[in-house]
Symmetry: C2
Subunit: 327 residues, 2 copies
Amino acid sequence: MKGKNINKLGEFGLIDFIKKHNTKPKSYHNVCLDIGDDCFSFNPHTKSKYIVTTDILIENIHFKRQWATAKQIGQKAIEVNVSDIASMGNSKPLYAFISLGIPKNISVDFVKELFNSIKNTCDKYGIHLSGGDTVGAKDITISVTLAGICDKPISRTGAKNGDLIFVTGTFGDSVAGLEILSKAKKNLTSCERNLIKKHLIPQARLKEANLISKAIKITSMTDSSDGLFKSIELLTENKGAVINMEKIPLSQNLIKYTNKDYNKLYNCALFGGEEFELVFTINKKDKTKLEKLLPNVTCIGYINNGKVTYLQNGKQKKVKYNGYKHF
Amino acid sequence: MKGKNINKLGEFGLIDFIKKHNTKPKSYHNVCLDIGDDCFSFNPHTKSKYIVTTDILIENIHFKRQWATAKQIGQKAIEVNVSDIASMGNSKPLYAFISLGIPKNISVDFVKELFNSIKNTCDKYGIHLSGGDTVGAKDITISVTLAGICDKPISRTGAKNGDLIFVTGTFGDSVAGLEILSKAKKNLTSCERNLIKKHLIPQARLKEANLISKAIKITSMTDSSDGLFKSIELLTENKGAVINMEKIPLSQNLIKYTNKDYNKLYNCALFGGEEFELVFTINKKDKTKLEKLLPNVTCIGYINNGKVTYLQNGKQKKVKYNGYKHF
């Protein structure tokens, strides 16, 4: 079917392809009625709580076909939702419901690659593709609703005075990668290619979230999908915090790319979205245990009763929201 | 805020508006963590099975702003999903997850009216608005995932040889209404206005589905969202049926509108989508009980072991799929 447009396959042809290539549900999915009926149905997992998240990706808003492959787009659509499930702690994603808006002039190959990538990323996490809708659209539209289970959801709002604020990974790479893509620069350096990779193929921190939340009481947690600054705002609603800016972990790639321009560096690290690190709080007594368990974490500050204050080399620095605005 | 564009309110302003105007969950929603966190969380309803459906509506594909109000669009987005939940029989919709793609140039009033309509339609069915995502988009995009519970899902495939095929309501009005809207005709007759209403404000048959499935064994059921012909195809997978075309219920409005042109009439009635009637099968022994319980049903044929055959005044008529193609 190479080169053929999706209208040669048709909506019902695509649904048949999806049905044929979808994996059978595993026993832990408790399925009563599988994908392909008016509803998907399953028996309750009685010992857990359900958790559900939803995210929508739209072409030319979240990605461009000229710089992302169908494989990367499909992968990202699932990873961003798994990241929300991860933020609940001790969780397992189970069911994905996916609506696809597909332009008429797109190739069958592209749509099949997109579907295969969605399915493979679901498989990686043991997620069953449980339902969906396929419609025509001007721009590629991928809406994912992901349901799973967890023991006890860790909310964004549970941090207590004195709790330490930790993060996984580094910040700012994804938005720097996006900037490089936007410039359509040729002859990329390896550092630029790494930044682009962080933007195009984000990885949810499900394993890390489960590891720490099983062993330690995480008092609050979120992911950094709207940028680190926004995550801190969410964890400190009606609270204060002190954030040591020089503690915010930065990759060597970002430091090199920004030529150590610290204004640009912190702009990327604080406001760059589409990054899927964990931002969470713990009681300070658990610090050593956490750092032994997961060496790839950094303490960037602590919760207090005042306002949220950013310090740079001990001096207070005014920081105002400067992130992406959808509208 | 009259006349102001949505970018004056902004994404986070809109989220605040939604949080403020969302109703508190009722006790039967079993909520652990409400809308506004990374995930929504709830305790399992242990005595029921879960059912989930998802549908996406995109501007200029499913509706046009020039002929549908924000109120009508919001209402339809929920009704079409409730219709799928209804098809499961003895069901209750509980949780809605809604992603909105919103163009920058749209008015705050429009978005608020859209949200209020979504919320009011959810309220009508006892559905809790449980999660969502708001992003920028070129066209208004509304993705709804609706979860609920039921005793035992009625699939599309349970019909047995000899079972009678029943439908609720009438067929063809919605597509006729769409045709009238597309012509942008002025000075509409009352019959034309009624057909338009059927297209713009569909009503899910939840009450009717629950009434009959509680009292009678429904052997298979679906809704007619892709048209009656497609519904019959779904209920007769690997089976046959005899459909008496003159039994297909038609409204006086449609008969008048088509000037009794029977070709056009049956084209509308069989292939017109976006109609949300129930199409279902029962054992013939339950016929009288059903008709007493719900007078607004019509038997249009029966299941057999052969092929699907359409009869017009006793004579076989060739009928080939002629419905809407998304791509």
